[in-house]
Subunit: 331 residues, 2 copies
């Protein structure tokens, strides 16, 4: 008989300190959340900044609670995003921006890095939690992407909570639409935007999700990048989980989330290196604006935007939260 | 005074003979067309095979005529696809498969490899040429992807030709739906399917496009991969033009068309090597079925499917046509 000994080093424990600087070996990031890339005034009153980041922290803690209770990465993503969908300060769920016709139309997607499965919904008007619908599409339909009235029929069949469209409409969104309708071209939502999350669960699996109302004054049932797997959302355990935010048309054409994955898979970059390249070189070079947040199975998070601000944050396995607003803050 | 001489070798002339085997140096492929990946009986009567491939040849010649008249790659793609959309033998335009509710709903997209711009439409019911709508979205809207009634409103504003939904419905499509509605799960269309084309114009630019009715018995306003940039269609002069066909959910999750591009951009593979890997390894490994056709700026075409058949063909600058049906035929 022989004794064979293994030194077991989990992926999370093996995180190298240094490259990311802010990680401890034993305490990987398990959830990263964004509340949309955009612009913020350097003169933003401290109380408003604190309020905004407190909401991001709430989402981080909601997702963390789901993960700490043994939930899957998908549960962490969904819990964090549902809180932000209900928060009228963000451009998702309640508080989403308005279409040319003055209505709210939601887009959302979710992807499971363990299985490669994904679900998404586009252009819904009455589903309280579009991220829950995206997950239901993944888990209970043979399809990946459902749209409009058909997606809502499916939501009803699944018993998801519905709200009248007016429930989602805020005075701020009405004001933003009025401000734009003198001009012909739609623009990115002012202030806080699309929400997204990437989670790492206790079994070492990743998931990513994104939810949005799109861009103010969007027209003709425009679908943005958020419900497009590979553009708005991507997750693969072998590479990274990715959630995007920004000018959706650029993210669709550049297939931004999958490009992060591909650079890791084919160039051997880290998720952080790939995210920085895709935002600072590829997206910026094409004239687009926006951001990605990424997380790998070692619990290394990167949040990078080429706008001046993105409300964002991370929470570690032990529950340590960090939040940031301006692009030059944090890791 | 000095005389400086240049030996000018255009990309098309510089095509190496050998790797692709079937190319002549002076006569690059300028258009490649598919009529959908699927299954065909080895006992297919010769007359039916000849008829099917004659239709593919017709599309090749229509696209070639547009290119020969000085048209852009986009014009070649559009001309080829419009012919196949009007041909009720293919699952696009007239003759498209039916939804769970017995209607036709079209998806299409187009991308310009020169500019990186793209357009797409999903779930339209009355636009005679969905590929023309996709191009109009690219050229005349600030968006990339429009859906449903909004996409049709945009089509009307652009003066595109409309038809009643019943105009698109064929007896064969009705029969296929009846055959499936005993079962719960939708399946890929029987026989001939999605259509697509990739073109190379006289200025050395690529474009790609795809048009489909999706899968028989699709439900809840399902959107497939064909209108998704990166899944069903991708084009970049620096790498390849790509059009996909097959089980759309796999193509969305695996971001197949962009994956071909990424392997060329990041691994240095040829478009042919990338296409073969993505279909034979990535898609097959995931359990998906389908195909891509690809073309590069040197006029090298590759058409690869993991199904037993795909009606497909190429035409060279001089007008030499080759068409193939079974997967083991041709280059």
């Amino acid at each position: 008989m022989r004794f064979v000994c293994f030194l077991v080093v989990s992926a999370a424990v093996a995180v190298p300190v240094g490259a990311q600087g802010r990680l401890t070996v034993a305490d990987p990031v398990v959830l990263v959340v964004h509340g949309g890339a955009g612009s913020a005034s350097p003169d933003l009153p401290p109380a408003r900044r604190a309020d905004l980041l407190a909401r991001v922290e709430g989402a981080l803690r909601a997702g963390h609670a789901a993960l700490s209770a043994g939930g899957r990465a998908l549960d962490g993503v969904q819990a964090a995003i549902e809180l932000l969908e209900d928060d009228s300060l963000f451009n998702a769920g309640r508080g989403a921006v308005l279409t040319y016709d003055g209505a709210v139309r939601h887009d959302a997607s979710i992807m499971d890095g363990r299985t490669g499965l994904a679900g998404a919904s586009a252009g819904t008007m009455h589903v309280r939690h579009p991220i829950a619908l995206a997950r239901a599409v993944m888990e209970h339909s043979p399809h990946v992407l459902l749209a409009g009235a058909g997606a809502e029929e499916f939501a009803m069949l699944r018993g998801l909570e519905l709200k009248p469209n007016s429930w989602f409409v805020t005075a701020a969104a009405r004001g933003a639409l009025r401000g734009l309708q003198g001009s012909a071209a739609p623009t990115a939502p002012p202030g806080n935007g699309t929400v997204g999350a990437v989670a790492l669960d206790g079994e070492g699996h990743l998931a990513a999700g994104t939810s949005t109302g799109g861009m103010t004054n969007k027209r003709w049932d425009r679908i943005g990048d958020s419900p497009i797997i590979g553009a708005g959302t991507y997750a693969a355990d072998a590479t990274c989980g990715v959630s995007s935010t920004g000018g959706g048309e650029y993210f669709i054409r550049l297939v931004i989330a999958h490009d992060v994955h591909a650079r890791v898979a084919y160039l051997g970059e880290t998720c952080g290196e790939a995210a920085r390249h895709v935002i600072r070189e590829t997206l910026t070079g094409a004239g687009g604006e926006g951001a990605v947040i990424v997380l790998d199975t070692a619990g290394r998070a990167t949040m990078v935007t080429n706008t001046n601000a993105m409300a964002r944050g991370t929470i570690t396995r032990s529950g340590r939260v960090e939040t940031f607003l301006f692009s030059d803050e944090g890791p």
